[in-house]
């Protein structure tokens, strides 16, 4: 396996009296799709926030491409090639799709090149032709894909997706999974944080299970799916 592109070491995060992360250590290899799953309250969202830099861990370290980024603000991490999609829809509702894409594209491209590049990104996420539609007029699924489109428009090396299939129909979910596999084939490392095991199944990737803010199990999807302990925590009988 290649060198890790992302690594967290012994990360703790305490809110008030709650330990959201409790000594989590995990690494993601360059070029893989890596799924992070866990029951509600396992610490998935907190893990995501410490990765992208909107929250700092109480103790512990985060490494990206071998460099420590624990205290780096979110915009600096983004400039290092880390791109994210938040759990809820995270496109700018008052702007059109094209203007939305303007925001990530303007950092790396000249203004005149942006419309063509934006159309290419929209085509890639299956939204060709919606350039001038205000985002709030798009369907829920379209907004989710546009959110992913915004993330890939930043041309990242590592893409972090928080619940990309939330609220989607089964057909839309399948399309999303296909999109993620295709992005991965083009060389992007993708980390998917997901509650729904069904979606993870369709990705068939290496999977880490979080439980009580720690790494509970790790392995290929089949290995995880057949793990008795994982089933037990998911059914809540622990």
């Amino acid at each position: 396996m290649s060198a890790p592109i992302l690594e967290v070491r012994d990360v703790h995060k305490v809110y008030g009296g709650v330990r959201a992360l409790n000594g989590l250590s995990l690494s993601v290899a360059a070029g893989e799709i890596h799924c992070v799953v866990g029951p509600n309250g396992a610490g998935k969202s907190t893990f995501f926030k410490t990765l992208i830099g909107v929250e700092r861990p109480t103790t512990g370290q985060v490494f990206y491409k071998g460099q420590e980024v624990t205290k780096l603000p979110a915009f600096r991490r983004a400039r290092l090639g880390l791109s994210v999609k938040f759990q809820n829809i995270s496109a700018f509702g008052e702007l059109t799709a094209l203007q939305n894409l303007f925001v990530p594209l303007r950092r790396n491209h000249r203004k005149a090149d942006i419309p063509a590049r934006a159309s290419a990104v929209l085509a890639r996420v299956g939204l060709a032709g919606v350039e001038d539609t205000p985002v709030r007029q798009l369907s829920h699924g379209q907004q989710q894909w546009l959110s992913i489109g915004l993330s890939i428009a930043a041309e990242p090396d590592l893409l972090l997706l928080d619940e990309p299939a939330a609220g989607l129909s089964s057909e839309e979910t399948a399309r999303t999974a296909e999109l993620i596999r295709e992005l991965n084939r083009s060389g992007m490392t993708v980390v998917v944080i997901e509650h729904d095991m069904g979606f993870i199944r369709s990705l068939r990737a290496r999977t880490s299970v979080l439980h009580y803010g720690r790494l509970f199990a790790q392995g290929g999807f089949d290995e995880i799916a057949t793990n008795e302990d994982v089933r037990r925590i998911y059914l809540g009988a622990a």
Binding site: H12, V14, Y15, G16, G17, R19, T58, T59
Partner: protein, 296 residues
């Protein structure tokens, strides 16, 4: 003039400044902490309280009655404001700020039209005592004790009463709370009424030390707000006490070393510096440090 008098004078001023901040902020923090609304008309509720108290005093009511009357009237005005206007602006922080500022303008200008710009005065009760050649008013000590009493009362109300439980539930998850049979609208109105009444009582108390005019409240709201912000949201009431301890301390030192104006500015400067170190207030800062210790 002896050194004991000088030292006592500083301590006396410290407690006086603290009482000022705590009283001005007590109603504001209740409404902000529970409902997320910063009531820019809080100072005007204090102004109404001050007028009611002095009116009651001049028709011969004893001071405690005048203070309670001030609280009642301010509470009623608060209910009207919440029912008619503020209710439509929950969860819209900036809009609620602007609309309550509009209400404050209406109240102060309305009183100005009705009663004119001349000021009123109430006598300061309880006389004075002297330490080491300095003379001190008793009333300001009473103010401090009252401030502590009111803050403790608010804390107890929310900690122990069933109203407190309902209010906290309504704030944290309105949908769930109403599903469980809590009348969230009434809880909001009641919280707002209590916060407004506290403002009215504070105004009645200050009326006995300051001149009353339609613009009586204008300077209180920003100062009260700074105290609330400095306190932070992690445990609002405790934060308020921390903030008053800190800001009043800085103010007392600055106004003695320099002058009153510098003392006033120093509150603002101290809050700015404090917020740079602790962007979400003292109580959040204390809680985070505790969390770090827990993680080790």
């Amino acid at each position: 003039m002896e050194w004991s008098g000088q030292v006592f004078s500083w301590i006396y001023q410290y407690f006086d400044n603290m009482a000022f901040l705590l009283l001005a902020a007590s109603g504001l923090i209740l409404i902000y902490g529970m409902m997320g609304v910063i009531n820019m008309a809080h100072g005007e509720l204090m102004m109404i309280g001050a007028y009611v108290a002095s009116a009651a005093f001049y028709v011969g009511a004893p001071a405690p009655v005048a203070i309670v009357a001030a609280g009642l009237v301010a509470g009623l005005v608060g209910i009207a404001m919440e029912r008619l206007v503020i209710r439509h602006f929950y969860n819209q922080l900036l809009s609620s700020l602007v609309v309550t500022w509009g209400l404050s303008l209406i109240l102060s200008q309305g009183v100005l039209l009705a009663l004119g710009p001349s000021t009123m005065n109430m006598p300061t009760p309880f006389g004075s005592f002297s330490v080491g050649g300095f003379s001190f008013g008793v009333y300001r000590m009473v103010l401090f004790a009252t401030a502590i009493g009111l803050i403790a009362g608010v804390w107890a109300l929310f900690r122990f009463s069933s109203f407190g439980v309902a209010a906290r539930a309504a704030m944290e998850n309105p949908r769930m709370a109403s599903a469980l049979g809590v009348d969230t609208k009434r809880v909001y109105t009641a919280t707002f009424a209590i916060g407004s009444a506290l403002g009215g009582i504070a105004g009645a108390l200050f009326a006995q030390t300051a001149a009353i005019s339609p613009f009586f409240g204008q300077n209180y709201t920003p100062m009260a707000f700074i105290t609330v912000v400095m306190g932070g949201g992690a445990s609002a009431i405790l934060g308020l006490v921390y903030a008053a301890l800190y800001l009043a301390g800085v103010q007392t030192i600055a106004s003695n070393v320099f002058n009153q104006y510098v003392g006033y500015v120093s509150i603002m400067a101290a809050a700015f510096i404090g917020l740079l170190v602790m962007p979400s207030g003292i109580s959040d800062f204390v809680q985070k440090r505790r969390a770090r210790r827990m993680a080790r």
